[in-house]
């Protein structure tokens, strides 16, 4: 029996008193590499905001190892889970090594010798040691994403929540970032990420949760997804084949939008 690490029970939430998530129940198990998929506005980022306590639910409860996350202090919560999101607006000119060291904040005030060693170890493990003396604003999107993940891993190796970690990245950096996440997932880190690229999700994760209009439409293994389900999730036609090398599902949308979608809109 797998240990439930995060649990949403009948959660409704949204913005400006309007529901974006309705009566959502989800259990996340230790060791999951869960990808949230769905159309824009389906509620993927909202679910991540709820799990990380950025957003308070209107009703229902979110529990971290059985404890309501609203009753856990920010510092304690951050020492158990780290979040990687896009940083909007003006970013100060921090050095990469200083930025990564911010991950130690919930664990104590100053960076002690031991923490500095852990920090350099994380920098090495994530393969960014050659970037450590660069200024974060001079990095490419792919490099900055790796730096963000390094910071998050220093903060917590328990649970990682990532909002679109590979959007804006080229193929090489996408694979690099996802491989790194996979490696830490094998070492025991529970990963939940919202992702747009279906093939990336199918290749790397071990569980997919598909959302549509704030409700769960599918929750299962990547190989259980099929054209019909994808059509329901995205309202367009898909073709899927098995990758001859990996044996995993490969999908591609068809350009023609389904008539059903059009008629439902009318």
């Amino acid at each position: 029996m797998k240990e439930i690490i995060l649990q949403c029970s009948n959660v409704s939430a949204g913005y400006n008193k309007k529901n974006f998530i309705t009566d959502l129940s989800l259990e996340i198990y230790k060791g999951d590499f869960l990808c949230l998929i769905g159309q824009n506005g389906a509620g993927k980022s909202t679910v991540l905001k709820l799990l990380s306590s950025i957003l308070k639910p209107y009703s229902g409860e979110i529990r971290l190892r059985g404890q309501n996350i609203l009753n856990i202090g920010h510092k304690k919560l951050s020492s158990q889970m780290a979040v990687v999101r896009n940083i909007n607006g003006i970013i100060p000119d921090f050095l990469v090594k200083d930025f990564v060291s911010f991950g130690s904040f919930p664990h104590g005030r100053a960076l002690s010798k031991i923490k500095q060693n852990i920090c350099s170890e994380i920098i090495k493990q994530t393969g960014i040691d050659d970037l450590s003396k660069r200024i974060i604003t001079t990095l490419s999107s792919g490099e900055f994403q790796l730096v963000q993940i390094a910071r998050a891993l220093l903060q917590s190796r328990d649970i990682l929540l990532l909002d679109e970690p590979v959007s804006n990245l080229d193929y090489r950096h996408t694979v690099e970032v996802m491989n790194l996440l996979k490696e830490f997932n094998h070492q025991g880190t529970t990963i939940v990420c919202a992702i747009h690229d279906l093939n990336t999700a199918l290749n790397f994760c071990n569980r997919i949760v598909a959302l549509k209009k704030g409700k769960i439409l599918f929750d299962g293994k990547p190989e259980e997804l099929n054209n019909k389900l994808l059509e329901k999730i995205y309202d367009i036609d898909f073709i899927s084949i098995k990758n001859p090398v990996t044996g995993k599902l490969m999908v591609s949308p068809l350009q023609e939008v389904t008539k059903k979608y059009h008629s439902s809109k009318e």
Partner: protein, 320 residues
Amino acid sequence: MKKTIVFFTLLLLSAVSIAIGISLGSETINPIKIFYNKSDLLSTEIITRLRLPRVITAFISGSSLAVCGVVFQSFFRNPLADPFITGISGGAALGYAISVVLAIPPHYGIFFSIGGSILAIFILSSLISNFSGSTSSFILSGISLSFIFSSCVMLIFAIAKSESVHKIIIWMMGDLNSANNAAFSIYLAPLFILAIWSFHRHIDLISLGDDFAKTSGVNPWEVLLIFLLTSVLVALSVLMGGIIPFIGLMIPHIIRPLSSSLTFYSIPFSALCGGAFLVICDSISRSIISPYELPVGVITGLLGGLFFFMTIFRQRSTSE
């Protein structure tokens, strides 16, 4: 290594500025001569009773404004944020204006300024406590409060006698004349600077956004506490020298390329640089049209404006 050099250079600059501040005035006095020739009682009196307290006030006031500038620019993620964005100076100005109109002596009038600042802080904290520590709510509350207070000051201008208006305007342009200063500010301000500095890691995380700070472990009450500490420091600096423009805006811009963006360095560096800058500006304002005095705000505003012109031209020439 680079930071150590910058630190000691700023320390030296501060010492030199203090020496200049003590020497310059309606009569130039060499402070080293006083040190060796203690029989020159008049010069000793001028230095110890008049110039030294004023130089110390100017240094601490400049340091406070620069530190508030660093914090607010990080807090609001806006390089144009300055200490007076919160409306606290507006509260102090209103208090002072009321005291002048009511012909209350300066020694008591200062309590009106304190009252105005406290009123502003109280309104601000009660407004923002409803917004669960979001920085955009701080900036909006501050700006609205500033507008309300400045309208009230303008109302006083419209109905007050012309000599009262003149007095208020001089104070609002920056006035380091010790007769109007609250002496306790000089002792309290360094303590507040130290208290704010102890939150340097929080400020770094806040500078990356509300959500980033929250998910990195910064509690909303800690955000509120830093904001209030900085607001009180603004109030103390206003009590020391009126409304002195540009220091809080300009000094963080000078310091940032010299140190790193980490507030662990930028707070003490800005404190030294801001202090030295205001002491030099005050020395110029006291000696340029001696025996008369210019409001120090005229000098800081002029130098600040020129500095920003230079920055814009430098940016344009590097981008071309």
